[in-house]
């Protein structure tokens, strides 16, 4: 934490960038870390917590190793994103927003990842899969970074 704080001045308006740095380090926001942030910028803990919960980017529990983002933006929605999302939910056994029990995958629905021309689109970590079909879901999971090893 000290290393993170050394990059900031301790001003209130730095709250969001600090939380982003903390999350980058731990992959989520541990409660203790948020308490330290509150002290560092001299605001109440509830203010830190209130701001953090406002934004969907922040997580409060341990996250999985790989991120699966199923785009449910308009372009993807009209091309059947829902059935793709359901296929992932079935295949991984978690609801969207959840993490698999082995902490391998996070499944998320997101609004537009900017590749609408390739809709429907899924992103596994940094790899974008365009023109997805429900039946390609298993294939997409097979080519995840871990199974290549």
């Amino acid at each position: 934490m000290a290393a993170i704080f050394s990059r900031f001045k301790g001003r209130r308006e730095e709250l969001i960038p600090i939380l982003q740095a903390v999350q980058e380090k731990f992959s989520y926001l541990p409660e203790e870390a948020m308490q330290q942030v509150a002290r560092f910028i001299s605001v109440s803990e509830s203010r830190v917590y209130g701001a953090a919960t406002f934004y969907s980017q922040f997580y409060f529990t341990q996250r999985g190793k790989h991120n699966i983002k199923v785009c449910c933006g308009t372009a993807c929605h009209v091309k059947g994103a829902k059935s793709i999302l359901e296929a992932f939910e079935r295949e991984l056994g978690v609801a969207s927003g959840g993490t698999t029990e082995d902490f391998k995958y996070n499944l998320e629905r997101v609004a537009c990842i900017g590749s609408c021309a390739l809709a429907p689109v899924v992103m596994v970590d940094d790899t974008v899969y365009g023109h997805m079909e429900a039946r390609r879901v298993t294939e997409c999971l097979k080519t995840d970074p871990d199974s290549k090893l």
Binding site: R11, R12, E13, E14, L15, I16, P17, L19, Q20, R47, G50, A51, F54, Y55, S56, Q57, F58, C72, G73, T74, A75, C76, H77, V78, K79, G80, S83, E86, A87, R90, E91, V110, A111, C112, I113, G114, S115, C116, A117, L118, A119, V121, V128, Y129, G130, E133, A134, R135
Partner: protein, 650 residues
């Protein structure tokens, strides 16, 4: 290969800038043939990076690699390959352009690189099989012949795809920062505002507020400390215009911001970038560092005594933060809650100081207006909405991608000209503009001339530029429901009409799409929509009912079919459709049975397969897998499986 020493000089006067531009132009002109490989998000997803690497490898192998620094030392280069920002036609990626000829290759793979190089460098010919083909099969030799591009007017996107956004010298070679120099040297801040006002530039963030007026208000507002903020939050689902500009031409946005800062009297500026855009952040960061190093931003810009310090702020994932007052609250480090207006940010904004807040495209347009004049800008587009509009054209359209068109173009020209019509030659149903704040326009309005005011009076919005084309397989009730689901999720929850009202409307729509709607629901939706528009604090709530109201206005029979017949005419709403296998067509190949994730399909060799409706989760995989030559699976609507309604084949 020896790299040359990097050319660099502090630009301490506008005259020096002119000299540097000249040197840069001459240096880049020493590259005889240039291959530009799109490295925008869409093309990267289609595999453009291996193509770029292959170009570089083969050029090196031919002993032709000359790095940019050597060009500056006067070396000629036979050829070079560079990654560029988005070319726009993402649908056909990976895209490669050969300049200066303007040859346009689509769907290029790494295996094609040798052939392309041989054609351009050895044979002076063209690889015909990689050219874009018109529907009649005739090839388009250059980019200007491709209908997707020829129907466009590129001003904001002019340099996108033509320059390497990570080298400021390419921007200099394209007259970069000349407009800022001109503003600082020739005009007072008031004159800059006067030019922007006269151009009648209207904000591209959605509402279309007159930019000159906003700047003038901020300039007049009392106080010495003022700010400029660039809204790069682009949260509309289905829109990626701002991102493409930021990634492909970041300096244009920075230059526009600096001009705005000079005009209103600000020294600091913030770019509020959406969390999901890491590449845009990286490009902006790099562009900013280079611009400060060259002294076209930062302290004492070009020796003119004006300072401007831009900073990047990354959002944290909240759609409502695209709304200006909410964005400012978020910049100050808190929850991004909108507040009542007035006072407007131009009077009382960031840390209660007067703040000009503009969209990415608005600011990117500014340098050219200063450079070419207000009349030049006003000559394109319509009288009340001059200039061009950038749209992300997506959905059920053949040519999807990023387009820039003059205001006043008809929807038909966009959909059937540039867009090439509906995929699979399907039937057009509607075009959705303005995202969650906008509405759906039907076929009768295809002749509508698109601008801020015409869209609004048709019950939609310009919005930030998402344009989603819908065909007969898109259910309009579901589209309305989709947007409400989005706004319910994104509402900040501060005021009751938005928090509870939209939620109520969503529930009614959920019921309708599940076949549980009541006839009186439609009037109720309209009434609720109107009161939410009147009562909500911010733009999110005030526009959230638009998708429902516009579909009720133009597509009412579709709502009625859901309510009265329990049918979804578009075969979309899961609870109103069923999948069926036609026993006369099924050849019992067993493919669907193997693929069905819930084992709902029963059948044996040589006996037609049957779907057990109670098990089926309606994933549609059987329809996808049944071979086209059999086409035995179909979707039907109406009372489950009774087959009373016409079934529509794939």
């Amino acid at each position: 290969m020896t790299g040359g020493k990097e050319l660099f000089a502090e630009i301490d006067s506008p005259a020096k800038l002119a000299k540097i531009s000249e040197i840069c132009r001459a240096a880049f002109a020493r590259q005889k043939t240039r291959f530009l490989i799109c490295a925008g998000t869409g093309c990267v997803a289609m595999g453009s990076l291996p193509v770029l690497a292959e170009f570089k490898r083969q050029i090196a192998e031919r002993g032709l690699a000359v790095d940019v620094e050597m060009l500056f030392e006067g070396r000629e280069a036979v050829t070079a390959a560079a990654g560029s920002g988005c070319h726009g036609f993402c649908e056909k990626g990976p895209l490669v352009r050969v300049e200066p000829q303007g040859i346009f290759y689509n769907k290029v793979k790494a295996e094609d690189v040798a052939e392309i190089l041989a054609a351009s460098l050895d044979q002076n010919s063209i690889v015909e099989r990689l050219l874009y083909k018109n529907p009649d099969g005739s090839p388009c030799l250059t980019v200007h012949e491709v209908p997707f591009y020829s129907g466009q007017t590129r001003n904001v996107l002019e340099r996108c795809g033509l320059i390497d956004p990570e080298d400021i010298r390419e921007y200099f070679a394209h007259d970069g920062y000349q407009a800022l120099a001109k503003a600082l040297r020739e005009y007072t801040p008031e004159q800059v505002i006067e030019i922007v006002s006269r151009s009648n530039l209207r904000g591209r963030g959605g509402a279309g507020f007159t930019t000159g007026k906003k700047w003038a208000t901020c300039r007049r507002a009392p106080g010495d400390t003022k700010y400029v903020v660039c809204n790069c939050d682009e949260g509309d689902p289905g829109a990626f215009m701002d991102r493409s500009v930021l990634e492909a031409d970041p300096h244009a946005v920075l230059e526009g911001m600096a001009i705005a800062a000079y005009a209103v009297g600000a020294e600091r500026g913030f770019l509020y970038v959406r969390a999901e855009y890491p590449l845009a952040v990286a490009r902006l960061q790099k562009a900013m560092e280079q611009a400060i190093k060259w002294k076209v931003l930062g302290e004492n810009i070009m020796g003119c005594g004006f300072n401007f310090y831009p900073e990047i702020f990354q959002g944290a994932g909240a759609f409502v933060c695209g709304e200006e007052t909410s964005l400012l609250a978020s910049l100050e480090g808190g929850r991004g809650m909108p507040r009542m207006k007035p006072p407007f940010p131009a009077e009382e904004g960031l840390w209660k100081r007067p703040t000009v807040l503009n969209n990415v495209k608005t600011l990117a347009k500014v340098p050219k207006i200063i450079d070419q004049g207000a009349d030049w800008f006003a000559a394109t587009g319509t009288v009340k909405s001059p200039g061009t509009a950038v749209f992300a054209l997506t959905g059920k359209i053949k040519n999807s991608g990023l387009i820039e068109v003059p205001m006043g173009i008809t929807l038909r020209e966009i959909v059937y000209g540039i867009g090439g019509g509906i995929i699979n030659d399907g039937k057009f149903k509607a075009v959705q503009t303005g995202g969650p704040s906008g509405g759906c326009l039907p076929e009768e309005l295809l002749e509508l001339e698109v601008d801020f005011d015409s869209l609004r009076s048709a019950g939609s919005m310009m919005g930030s530029g998402g344009m989603v084309v819908l065909d007969e397989k898109s259910c309009m009730v579901d589209i309305a429901r989709y947007f409400l689901e989005f706004t319910v999720h994104e509402s900040c929850g501060q005021c009751t009409p938005c928090r509870d009202g939209i939620w109520q409307m969503l529930h009614i729509l959920n019921d309708i799409t599940a076949g549980k709607g009541r006839p009186e629901d439609l009037a109720l939706l309209e009434e609720m929509g109107k009161s939410i528009i009147a009562g909500a604090i911010c733009g999110l709530g005030k526009t959230a009912p638009n998708p429902v109201l516009s579909t009720l206005r133009y597509f009412r029979p579709e709502y009625e079919a859901h309510i009265q017949d329990k049918a979804c005419p578009a075969l979309n709403c899961q609870e109103l459709i069923a999948y069926q296998i036609d026993p006369n067509k099924c050849k019992a190949c067993g493919r669907c049975r193997k693929e069905c994730p819930v084992e709902a399909i029963k059948g044996e060799k040589k006996t037609p397969h049957v779907i057990e409706q109670s098990k089926c989760c309606k994933c549609g995989i059987c329809l996808e897998t049944c071979p086209a030559k059999f086409s035995a699976v179909s979707k039907i609507t109406g009372k489950h499986g009774d087959g009373s309604l016409a079934s529509i084949d794939r």
